[in-house]
Amino acid sequence: MQLTIKYFGLLAEVTATTEELLETETCSVFELVKTLKNQYPKLGDTNFKIAVDQQLIDLNYIIETNAEIALLPPFAGG
C-alpha cells in the first residue's frame, strides 16, 4: 500500500520535505514512526502526534490501506 506522509512545522525542516510517498506493508503507527525515525534520525529529538486520514490516533492503530498520514508537532509561538 502507499502512504502519503505530510510533515508540519519544525518536522518539515527536520525532514527537508513537506510531503512524500511511502510504499509499505500493513503496519502499526508505532512501526511507521520507527521507520520514519530510521530514515530521519533527527525526528527522534522532536515531539509530534500522528493523524491518519485527518484523525489523530494512538500508536497502536493499524494502517491497512492507502492513507494520508500527518505528523503534527506542537507550536508555542504567539
Binding site: G9, T18, N47, G78
Partner: protein, 369 residues
Amino acid sequence: MNSLHSRYQRQIILPEIGLSGQEKLSASKVLVIGAGGLGCPILQYLTAAGIGTIGIVDFDIVDTSNLHRQILYGTSSLGKNKAVAAKERLIDLNPEITITTYTERLTTKNAISIFLEYDIIVDGTDNFSTRYLINDACVITKKPLVYGAIFKFEGQVSVFNYQNGPSYRCLFPEPPKAGSVPSCAEIGVLGVLPGIIGSMQANEVLKIILGLDTILSGKLFTYDCLTTRSSNFGINRVETEISKVLETSSHFKTIDYDLFCGIQKITEITPKEAFLIKNVQFIDVRDPHEQPKIDSLHPIYIPLGKLKEKVNTITKEKEIILFCQSGIRSKKAVEILLQEGFKNVSHIQGGAVALHENISNLTGLLKYD
C-alpha cells in the same frame, strides 16, 4: 436607532446574531492571555464586536521589534506595559465596554481566581509552560479555552474544554523537550500570520458566545500561509488526561510548570549586582539599532536571533551576564546558553533601561582586573 445599535448595526442585521446575539456579546466576559502577535487581533475584534468585559493579561512591555505584527501598538506605546498600552487603544476603539488589565505574569497562584471571573479564556501566549498552565486551569475551572499558536509560516487553532470536548493535553499530553521548538524571537515570524490565526481565535470566541453550532471543538485547524494549505484534524477526548489534571486541583498552586516543561531556573540579577561581579563578560542581545548603549560594561553585541550560531565565540572562562532592553529577550538568551552547556549565566532585571537609569550611581563600582 441609538448609538449602541448603530455601532453594531452591521452584525445585528445578521440573522445569526440579531439584537439577542448582541445582548449575549455584551453580557459576556472574555479573558485574553498575552497581548502580543495573537492577542492584538483577538483583542481588537472582540472589543469592536462589543464583548461586555475583556480582561488582558500581559507582564511584557512593548518593544520596537513587536510593531510589525502587534498591531494595537504604535511608536508612542514603546516601553509601556502591553496590557496597559492595549487598553489605551481599545477604549478609543470602543468606550462602551469594560477592560480590566492584569500586568503581572500568569502563575498557578493567580490563574484560578482570575479565570473564575470570566466565561471564556483565550490563549495568545508564546511558551509551552504557560500554555499547559492555562489548559489545566481551564480544566479545573471548567472554562472553554480558545487556543492558537504559530510556528514560522504555520498556525494552529482549536477550542478546548468545550462541552466535554478534548483538552490541550488530549492533543499533546507532554510538552516537547525545552528548547526543541524555537520561538518567534529566534526564528522570526511574518506579521500577517498571527493576524490570521488571532482573527480565527476571535471568531471562535464570538461563535461560542452566540451559541452557533459549528465550534472548532474536537478539531485542530492548521494553516500554512506560504502554501495557503489548511487542514482540520479530529481530536478525541482522553479521559485519563482530564482526570490527571483534575487530580491536581487541590495542590494546583504548588505546581511548577517550568519544571514540567524542563525549563531550567534562570538567575536574574539587579543592575547593582551586575556592576559588582568580577571576571565577567557582558553580552547585549538587542538588535544593533537599539538605544541606549551601555558602553561602560564593555559588552559584546550578539542579537538574540544570532546567539545560537555565534555561541562558539563566547568565552566559557568568564561568568556571562546578558541583557536586552527590558529583561525578556535576555531571559530567553540565558535559556539558550544553558542548553548550550554554559554554567555561569545570568541576566539583568529590567535590562538596558534599568542599567541606564542607574548608571551614574553605579559606574564608580566598576572593577577592572
